[in-house]
């Protein structure tokens, strides 16, 4: 992944809009920031890593929005536009 692609992916995860002109300058900023934030290889924190039990992480992907009709179909109680949730404050009849 090149730097501009990286910027676009990170911007998408962060819900920030980035156009082509902006992504070029942000790519330069990201490069500076990432190299600034790199810990020195002599840092003691490297010795603290637990290589035997690496963390397993999911892939970060921005998904499509949910399908409204499908959500309403599966809800406990719905009207034409919204699903409704039980009232939890005292005094309600439990189904408003």
């Amino acid at each position: 992944m090149n730097e501009q692609e990286l910027v676009k992916k990170v911007a998408s995860l962060a819900k920030l809009g980035v156009d082509d002109a902006c992504s070029e300058s942000l790519a330069a900023d990201m490069k500076n920031m990432i190299s600034f934030a790199a810990l020195s290889s002599e840092s003691g924190c490297f010795a603290m890593s637990n290589e035997k039990e690496p963390m397993i992480l999911r892939q970060d992907n921005v998904g499509e929005s949910f399908d409204r009709a499908l959500l309403l179909e599966q809800s406990y109680n719905a009207n034409d536009e919204f699903f409704t949730v039980p009232r939890v404050v005292a005094g309600g009849d439990g189904n408003e």
């Binding site: 819900k15 920031m33 934030a37 810990l39």
Partner: protein
């Protein structure tokens, strides 16, 4: 200028108690000063003029009836604009929150106002407290009252400038990586970054939750201790807050400092520290030696990595904390958006300034699946290591003395195009945030342009009374010399 506004908070408390002047007279004097110099300084985002006068009148009535609440009753103060105040706009100096009025008051602010302090208004800052110059504010840069071509520092630049310009008797700010101490040093003031958990963060708009602290900026060490005493303590609304174990922050002030061991870490006196700053800080160390303290050289190797680790962890936390500003939960919604995705992206892209967007990008990158282990986890380990090594050093000395900032206040706009160069200047302040330990800054000299130099004292968890004792000793020695 009405000369009473130059008095310290302690002197105001004494004068109000003795009936020398009323809270209303004092409040009006500060409001006149604000009116006169705000066009130049721009320390305030919101001035609560009528409320301040009304509260001062109420304070005078309480005093007249023998019902004064405490030492701060009737004293005019101001609060950084990332600390929530019910019914008063709280903007974080950002376009996205420019019309946000919180429905509740932060605990720290509530303790001050509940103690009778009079709120003059809300203070300018770097947007969401991300910056060191107060230039990233949506409401325009704040200027240093000592030289208006220079920055007051940041992010609590409005708090420091307001106190230095005699626009209030004292102020609250926040400190995530030095945001109280660096502006205090740049404006010749006293500031305390308290032990993490001493002051409730409830109502402080979160930037990096594991580093954020609320603290006071004042003109004297005693004033600082007065405000910190008022805002400290366990709060049911902040699970991370704690009561300090049985200590009085005021009582130790004025006690002798002989026998106290002061460590000078060589990593904080490196080539990036200007010779003038080094000289002034070493002179402060010599003053302590003259007062009977012992100076020892120490080395804390992990401090070299503290700034890098800080920027990864704080940006990661910021990217998560600022996710709520999306035009749905919080923030002024972009009206041109045509879908929910557009609401998020347009609101956030137009609502945040450049520095905030950069930090969100860095933080999101550090937390993303391909980088989490390499950046975020390593940085978290580096933070643990910094704290462990500082505490180790504090077994051989009682406090650690260093410059507060490697340089003095510089010209406005001078470093704007190179954000990471500014980041590197946080070398002296960041260790206290990364380790959660308390750190006090106070003036110790000036450079050849007359700009103040700050010295920093860092101690063990909840050692604020020791720091105040040492700070007061240096302040008294310097005022005697002058």
């Amino acid at each position: 200028m009405n000369e009473i506004i130059k008095r310290t908070l302690r002197e105001h408390a004494h004068a109000l108690r003795g009936g020398e002047y009323s809270s209303e007279e004092l409040t009006r004097a500060y409001l006149e000063r604000i009116d006169k110099c705000e066009n130049d300084i721009n320390a305030f985002i919101t001035v609560t003029q009528q409320k301040a006068i009304d509260d001062a009148v109420l304070s005078d009535k309480r005093r007249k009836n023998g019902e004064a609440i405490g030492v701060l009753d009737g004293i005019p103060i101001a609060i950084k604009d990332n600390i929530c105040t019910a019914g008063i706009r709280t903007t974080c100096a950002s376009a996205i929150l420019s019309s946000y009025t919180p429905p509740y008051t932060a605990t720290a602010a509530g303790k001050l106002l509940g103690g009778g302090a009079v709120l003059l208004g809300k203070l300018n800052m770097d947007e969401f407290a991300m910056g060191s110059t107060t230039e990233s504010s949506f409401f325009g840069a704040t200027k240093n009252p000592l030289d208006q071509t220079r920055t007051p520092g940041g992010s609590s630049g409005g708090s420091a400038a307001a106190v230095a310009a005699f626009e209030c008797a004292g102020a609250l700010g926040s400190d995530t990586g030095g945001s109280l101490r660096q502006p205090a040093a740049f404006c010749g003031l006293v500031a305390m970054k308290p032990t993490y958990s001493r002051v409730s963060r409830y109502g402080l708009v979160a930037f990096a939750s594991s580093f954020d602290s609320i603290g006071p900026i004042t003109r004297s060490v005693y004033d600082n201790a007065l405000i910190l005493s008022a805002i400290s303590g366990k709060d049911q609304s902040d699970a991370t807050s704690k009561d300090a174990p049985g200590e009085d922050l005021i009582n130790s002030i004025g006690e002798p400092v002989n026998g106290i061991k002061i460590g000078l870490p060589r990593e904080l006196f490196g080539d990036n520290v200007s010779p003038e700053v080094k000289d002034a800080v070493m002179n402060a160390a010599k003053t302590y030696e003259k007062l009977g303290a012992r100076i020892v050289d120490i080395s804390i190797k992990s401090l070299d990595d503290a700034v890098a680790a800080y920027y990864i962890v704080s940006s990661a936390e910021a990217s998560s904390n600022l996710a709520r500003f999306d035009g749905v939960r919080y923030g002024s919604r972009d009206q041109s958006a045509r879908s929910i995705e557009e609401v998020y992206t347009k609101t956030r892209s137009n609502g945040f300034g450049d520095e905030v967007r950069r930090r969100i990008m860095l933080g999101t990158f550090a937390l993303s699946s391909g980088s989490y282990d390499e950046y975020y986890m390593r940085a978290k380990r580096a933070c643990d290591l910094v704290r462990a090594e500082i505490l180790n050093a504090l077994n051989v000395c009682d406090v650690i003395l260093s410059p507060t900032a490697p340089i003095t206040a510089y010209k406005l706009g001078i470093k704007r195009d190179d954000p990471t160069e500014i980041w590197a200047d946080d070398i002296c302040t960041v260790p206290a945030n990364v380790s959660g330990l308390p750190a006090l800054t106070l003036p110790c000299g000036a450079d050849t342009s007359g700009m103040p130099i700050g010295v920093q004292l860092m101690g063990k968890d909840f050692s604020e009374s020791l720091l105040y004792k040492l700070g007061y000793a240096l302040e008294a020695e310097r005022s005697e010399r002058e």
